[in-house]
Symmetry: C3
Subunit: 156 residues, 3 copies
């Protein structure tokens, strides 16, 4: 069971993260595609819930911290998905993630950062976790988040 | 009827906006997902049709104007969808919008800007309008547009 | 046959391009949507395979070269699709491409650059190649690539 796997890694999925705008975290199409809104590295273990990291990757945020930030984005996405579909065992396969890295114009290590998201997905979901990806830079993100990750998965 | 609702808000959907490149405004998949190309705030009430706003948000374009620009992007997207599917009553639900905000690297209010798109969708479509979203910054957009918004909706 | 058409244009589809991160090049949904990861202008004719162009469009990379770079992204995407689905004749229609242009903040010619991708798709696939598109700027891309293009196509 996926939730047990995640727990065994010492990770707690957030239950009630709010969105920061006039949108919803998850929409499911009639053909079982689950679209998840762009996630930022809010840490639900902090009180109050807040961004664990802030600033530009390669400048005020290290690549290692940015990798962790990308992983937090996935944790938050999974929390949202579970809230809607009940159990993550209903995920049939991952389809795509988009990763945006808030950085200076000389930055080129976007893949290393977004691997923090991809590696975690593969660790938890194995074969089902194999996903396509786009990773790009950006000069700025909401609330000065260092990364933002959205995703599409397919459910049974 | 959605078109009447839009008219009652004093809004006219554009009829024949051209794309600014070698692509089409709308593609419908075999499973009823409607993909709409990235829209910029062309104002079809101006003659000739042109960008209503130009420049970077938070610098030469105010957040309020940028919110309106994001709304214009949705109006243009709806115009394209209606041209292809006949009536917007055929929209079953919104799936996702992507919002790109042309800004300086210190900008952090992307959600406020893209709410201009999201709020309008919710105002017109209500429950059906609930959508997922990704909102990010960018250092530049086509024709120096302040915002660009694309979307995916599902039809019956 | 699409492969013959591509060959007649003097183009060789790459066979075994590697991804530069913990992801896969292609995922197919149960409803025949093929998602392709973000491609950069690796040139499989060079040994070793490497980026054909590097740097910011409008600065160290000309618009003409960037157009060619965008075309190389499509060639690489088609190589990946063919590896997975056997023949490109199985493509029913193009759905969407996303084009990211690595540039300075004053750049506004993103559509011209991404037309290098769109024009090639239309040249090879004709009516089936009609696609939606989002084209935006970015301050940076992986490995300092001048462009990145991902796509969604539908297969039979």
């Amino acid at each position: 069971m996926i939730e047990e796997k995640i727990e065994s890694l010492g990770i707690k999925l957030p239950a009630e993260l709010k969105t920061i705008g006039s949108y919803v975290p998850v929409v499911i199409t009639s053909n079982n595609l689950v679209f998840v809104s762009g996630q930022i590295p809010l840490d639900s273990q902090l009180a109050p819930v807040q961004l664990r990291y802030k600033g530009k990757v390669g400048k005020s945020v290290s690549i290692d911290d940015a990798r962790h930030a990308a992983k937090l984005c996935v944790i938050n996405a999974l929390g949202h998905i579970r809230s809607i579909i009940g159990t993550l065992d209903n995920i049939k396969k991952f389809v795509k993630i988009s990763g945006f890295v808030n950085c200076e114009s000389s930055f080129t290590d976007h893949p290393k950062v977004i691997n923090g998201a991809s590696d975690f997905i593969l660790e938890v979901f194995g074969e089902k976790g194999r996903h396509t990806r786009v990773a790009v830079g950006t000069n700025s993100l909401p609330l000065d988040s260092p990364v933002e990750v959205d995703m599409i998965v397919e459910i049974y």
